[in-house]
């Protein structure tokens, strides 16, 4: 990206003043190096987002931003329904409520080492992963609708987890306002065999070792210390969410209520929040969020079974579950005024509420919420915490991952999956996947350096570094 087009506000914050049809400025967070490497498409897409009706304050791009569909991935934008604000299916993404949850295990790296291979194989056998895999749970119509209303709460009520898990999940495990009737039969059909499946692409289940603590007091409050072992799960709303995204992108383009919205690009398709199509989408999208929460809850249950088989002393407790593809109604202070009820889109961005936020459980009232950042199968992941400053900086949002720097197309040409697996094994990381080509496309070097992205988020005050995690076992979809 040409940095001459931006105004540098601090060492990790850049502003694009409104031009053309932009209603608000665009703010991109990142160090000079990250910004120089960032795709020009991010500039184009975030300035396009800034033209949408009812947008408040600014359109934001996180340090891991890259080229998306309409919205950049790593984009954050909040809309006021009182001022014609819109909801955008592309601003949420196809994988509704894709997210990460991390569980502490009560184990240390020394406990894992002797049984790492057995644990890896047991997890791989227990948690269905990859295209063509089927879940063990098949829902009839009534149960599907109950799942779409209840989310993780539905799963816990059926024995997949504990009440304590719900306390440690955004929305306390159940997104309100979900409307199963707004979800098409095709979307529900697509979910028939997919409950409790990991999916593919960049989705994974990882056993990780805590290798560094940056903030001792918050780490202690989160119950983690160096050499602890944690389990992280990255996946989303599976076929149901994908189908909702697919259908509403088209519906928003064709809806008469959307016709008067002037779009720089039709992939930004959106609808007024206060319109019939907007309302139906929100009901469906919230059902998609519940599907993702239920899915990660079931996978958690399966992972607990796998651990119990290999390491009976393990006690897997949920630290937190965060979603990074959502649109949520939140109260935010805008430009020093009073609190406003806004529809906050986070497309590849993690909510990062700071200390004292009323939506957080008591356990995080002093620390801010855990912000879980996934890396690649060969590099670190991070636990950060929400800060008070991020409210003013980004509607309490932070980055979500490393972000690709190389296309799948290039990655597939450059690496062989088997060689990647062998190389990682030499580094002490066991990778299991049904597809070696999938591994090649997800090779660690195809991604940006997650450490640099996380440092930028920390320096920009979007969230605060707490701990670094390094992979020991990775199940890739």
């Amino acid at each position: 990206m040409d940095l001459n087009k931006l105004v540098q506000e601090s060492d990790a914050q850049w502003r694009i003043d409104p031009f053309g049809k932009m209603r608000v400025p665009a703010i991109i967070y990142g160090t000079s190096d990250l910004m120089r490497d960032m795709d020009d498409k991010v500039y184009q897409q975030i300035t396009n987002v800034a033209t949408l009706p009812g947008i408040e304050k600014a359109a934001y791009a996180m340090p891991d931003a890259h080229w998306g569909y309409g919205f950049p991935i790593g984009g954050v934008a909040a809309f006021d329904p009182q001022h014609g604000g819109v909801v955008s299916a592309g601003g949420v993404g196809f994988d509704i409520s894709c997210g990460v949850r991390t569980l502490t295990t009560g184990l240390t790296a020394d406990d894992i080492q002797p049984v790492a291979k057995e644990l890896a194989e047991t997890l791989f056998r227990t948690v269905p992963a990859g295209l063509g895999s089927r879940g063990h749970i098949h829902l009839n119509h009534a149960e599907m609708d109950a799942m779409l209303i209840g989310g993780a709460l539905w799963a816990v009520e059926r024995g997949y987890g504990t009440r304590q898990d719900l306390e440690r999940t955004e929305e306390f495990g159940s997104m309100k306002g979900a409307k199963p009737v707004a979800v098409s039969d095709r979307a529900k059909n697509r979910q028939q065999d997919e409950m409790g499946t990991l999916g593919s692409g960049n989705h994974y289940l990882e056993v990780q070792r805590v290798t560094e603590i940056y903030n001792g007091s918050i780490a202690a409050a989160f119950g983690i210390q160096t050499n602890d072992v944690v389990l992280s799960i990255h996946c989303g709303s599976r076929g149901l969410g994908h189908q909702i995204g697919t259908e509403f992108l088209k519906k928003m383009i064709l809806s008469p209520e959307s016709q008067h919205i002037e779009l720089p690009d039709r992939e930004l398709a959106c609808a007024p929040i206060e319109s019939l199509i907007g309302e139906i989408y929100l009901g469906a999208m919230r059902a998609g969020i519940n599907c993702a929460l239920a899915n990660r809850q079931i996978i958690t249950h399966l992972a607990r079974q796998a651990f119990a088989e290999v390491l009976p002393k393990a006690e897997l407790r949920l630290l937190y579950d965060v979603s990074h593809n959502t649109c949520k109604v939140e109260e935010h202070r805008v430009n020093g005024g009073g609190m406003k009820r806004l529809f906050v889109h986070r497309k590849g961005a993690t909510r990062a509420f700071g200390p004292g936020h009323p939506d957080l459980p008591s356990a995080f009232q002093l620390t801010g919420q855990p912000v879980l950042i996934g890396g690649t199968m060969g590099t670190a992941s991070y636990i950060l915490s929400g800060t008070s400053e991020s409210e003013a900086r980004s509607f309490s949002s932070s980055c979500h991952g490393a972000g690709r720097q190389m296309s799948r197309h290039q990655a597939k040409k450059q690496w062989h999956g088997r060689a990647v697996v062998d190389q990682l094994r030499r580094q002490g990381i066991l990778v299991l996947s049904p597809s070696m080509r999938g591994v090649a496309e997800e090779a660690p070097a195809a991604y940006k350096d997650v450490c640099v992205v996380v440092d930028a988020a920390h320096r920009a005050g979007l969230s605060c570094k707490v701990a670094k995690l390094e992979p020991m076992v990775c199940v890739k979809g």
């Binding site: 498409k41 088209k250 197309h409």
Partner: protein
């Protein structure tokens, strides 16, 4: 001679992928719009697996409609994505008929065999990014878009 008129010539029917930073673009090229759609569908399958490992063992029929060619191409790819996901199948041969914005398509393929096909990634859906259905200067039809994986 009208410089904007397509030249008529022999069109090389083919599919290809093009780069998108986080995902992948699929492109079909053919002498007719239908051929370009068929080739685009092969490009879609090739995102997931080596098309040569597949056999056309069974037929699935789909239909879709849209107010313009570009939306129709996205609908067509999404119809295939849906059939792949719900039937656990992969498709290698396609036949498309388009009449007044309505597409009828035959998909030939087989059940996924994970060990044989080593599916690299699911496709979540076709997007409107880099979406084009157009006729090139040499008369070839091109249908393309980025798919989310």
């Amino acid at each position: 001679m009208n410089p904007d008129a397509p030249e008529t010539g022999i069109v090389s029917t083919r599919w290809e992928h093009f780069s998108h930073q986080s995902d992948i673009g699929v492109r079909g090229v053919g002498a007719t719009k239908e051929e370009a759609f068929e080739q685009g569908a092969i490009a879609l399958t090739a995102v997931i697996t080596d098309v040569n490992t597949l056999e056309p063992k069974s037929l699935v029929q789909v239909s879709c409609d849209a107010p313009d060619d570009e939306l129709l191409f996205v609908d067509w790819l999404n119809a295939i994505v849906y059939e792949m996901a719900t039937r656990k199948m992969l498709f290698c041969h396609f036949n498309v008929h388009i009449d007044h914005g309505r597409l009828q398509g035959n998909l030939w393929g087989q059940q996924v065999e994970i060990a044989k096909h080593e599916p690299a990634t699911e496709v979540k859906g076709a997007t409107y990014t880099e979406l084009q259905v157009r006729r090139d200067r040499d008369g070839a039809w091109i249908a393309q878009c980025v798919v989310d994986v």
